[in-house]
């Protein structure tokens, strides 16, 4: 078990399709996190940016881009890219610097200005890139993979499209209470069922949209927090950034095939489950200790998968959990109290940071109408393309 780092500040730019630069979203989120922490930007010893590959050259050097926008002040800088796990890796990098004594207080920022419609690979003829290949050869968009996972759950576990819709209904009800969410309307099961099929069996309202958005955190050493007068901060206790173990036998984006288990038998634990286990082990807790979870609901069906991967229930019991209301506010383990991606949409480098913002507000008891009573321990779970784990445990 490692030492904790304190979360002194959290901030966001509202999600949506605003048509502005990712720099503006990230800078707004950063200023809000700094104000929340009661710190001046010049107090920050290190800035870590989560990269956005769609932001052009400045997007690839996000840390320096945000530092320039906030005003050069000489801070240590880093930029990280890990696809959808970029935000968690940015948190991990800042945390490592703090625990190593390289910085007392660090700013973590992620922001994106997403394209309309499907995410797509970078341009050019690049047949050595698996992401390019899956589009060129198969036209396999992200939702087609979500459709494969959903259909597999229906065949193996007996889940139904109605079960999937329950996830959207639950998350939309929470998103309606979140001023940072893009979609702030409740949704009915009938509306989900009436929306267009995107990738059988999933419909438009089963799948998260692409969005603009930004999120930021101010992290510090526990000593700094004490000196700053914050006696009982929300603390980050674990950050899991693990890779899969060979052979990875669940078809993962963006691959066209799995690893073969012909020579080495597959572990019974899936990659997603190993992401959570690493976080639990580092934090010295188990699923029974959780007050809430923020999971990467790229699709409604995938949220059910995360219930199982986080150990909130046994394998195949995810649908039962949502049917029982266990993952709704007031239930045993509320999931996606923020409204999740169902309400936010995806702003790739920001999302894993936004999850920790929500954990922070919930653990402070400052989440307003969507507050989970008595929240003490929260986990985020997420996965980045090309084998990036992402999970954060926060406690109060």
């Amino acid at each position: 078990m490692t030492k904790d780092v304190a979360v002194l500040g959290a901030g966001m730019h509202p999600w949506g399709k605003w048509g502005r630069s990712f720099v503006e979203y990230g800078t707004a989120a950063a200023r809000e996190a700094l104000a929340d922490a009661g710190l001046d930007w010049r107090d920050i010893g290190s800035i870590v940016g989560a990269d956005t590959v769609r932001g052009g050259y400045p997007g690839y050097v996000a840390g320096a881009t945000f530092a320039k926008a906030l005003g050069w002040q000489g801070a240590r800088v880093a930029s990280v890219y890990a696809a959808c796990a970029s935000g968690a890796q940015a948190i991990a990098a800042a945390r490592a610097q703090i625990l190593a004594g390289l910085a007392d207080v660090a700013l973590v920022v992620g922001a994106d200005a997403a394209p309309k419609g499907f995410f797509r690979p970078a341009g050019g003829e690049r047949p050595d890139d698996p992401d390019w290949l899956r589009f060129r050869l198969l036209g396999a968009t992200n939702p087609t993979y979500f459709g494969l996972y959903a259909r597999r759950r229906m065949a193996v576990h007996g889940d139904t499209p109605e079960d999937f819709a329950l996830v959207k209904v639950k998350n939309a009800a929470m998103g309606a209470l979140n001023p940072y969410a893009r979609y702030r309307k409740r949704v009915t099961a009938e509306e989900v069922a009436a929306s267009a099929v995107v990738a059988d069996p999933l419909r438009l309202l089963d799948i998260c949209a692409t969005s603009d958005g930004g999120a930021a955190l101010v992290l510090s050493s526990m000593d700094f927090a004490q000196r700053h007068g914050v006696a009982r901060p929300v603390r980050i206790r674990a950050v899991s950034t693990v890779t899969p173990r060979f052979p990875n036998t669940v078809l993962d984006l963006p691959d066209i095939a799995t690893d073969s288990a012909a020579a080495v038998a597959a572990d019974s634990e899936s990659f997603r489950a190993s992401i959570a286990r690493a976080a639990y082990e580092e934090a010295g807790i188990g699923p029974e200790d959780l007050s809430l979870a923020e999971v990467y609901d790229l699709s409604t069906a995938m949220e059910l998968q995360w219930y199982e991967d986080l150990g909130l229930c046994g394998e195949g019991e995810g649908a039962k959990l949502v049917r029982e209301g266990a993952t709704a506010p007031g239930g045993r383990i509320p999931v996606n109290s923020s409204g999740g991606l169902a309400s936010f949409g995806e702003a790739v480098p920001a999302q894993a940071i936004a999850q920790v913002c929500e954990l922070t507000w919930q653990l402070r008891g400052a989440a307003g109408d969507r507050q989970i009573a008595g929240a003490r321990v929260g986990i985020s779970a997420n996965q980045g393309l090309f084998g990036h784990g992402s999970s954060v445990v926060a406690v109060r």
């Binding site: 341009g123 589009f135 198969l138």
Partner: protein, 148 residues
């Protein structure tokens, strides 16, 4: 038509008709199979590595899962924006001998209504798209016993 038939990707499949096969590689040291082919070094972390040999994959497998695509995929997928979009099915197929799951488009005319998880399918030659000079070929999955 005098278009040249050219594989959409080199070295992934070979042959015609009933002789059509997906091509992968196998590590001569640990026998791990790779598709798409791995030609540089064995990726089994327990293996010190050996020469990688080209192999043909099993023609038949069972459906792990399937879906379809109701909206036109973005480039680099090639489709004619002048024509109305026709959804096509995608099938992930488990090959028993290789212990691997391989994704591919379903043969034309096969829809999700024709499929179930666990159903047997076979690999068949297919066309990805055509331009003025070239017919770009690919692999398709088709339920066994069905003829185009």
């Amino acid at each position: 038509m005098s278009r040249t038939r050219t594989p959409s990707v080199a070295g992934w499949f070979i042959g015609d008709g009933d002789d059509f096969r997906l091509l992968g590689t196998r590590c001569s040291s640990c026998a791990t199979v790779f598709f798409p082919r791995e030609d540089v070094h064995c990726r089994n972390p327990y293996c010190t590595g050996g020469p990688l040999e080209e192999i043909s994959l099993s023609r038949k497998g069972r459906i792990w899962s399937y879906t379809d695509s109701h909206y036109r995929p973005p480039s680099p997928y090639v489709s004619n924006p002048e024509l109305p979009w026709e959804p096509y099915a995608l099938i992930a197929v488990e090959l028993a001998a290789e212990r691997i799951v391989v994704l591919g488009q379903a043969a034309p005319g096969v829809t999700v209504a024709d499929l179930t998880v666990g159903m047997e399918v076979e690999v068949v030659p297919g066309v990805l798209h055509e331009d003025a000079e070239t017919t770009w070929t690919t692999w398709h999955w088709r339920p066994t016993g069905v003829r185009a």
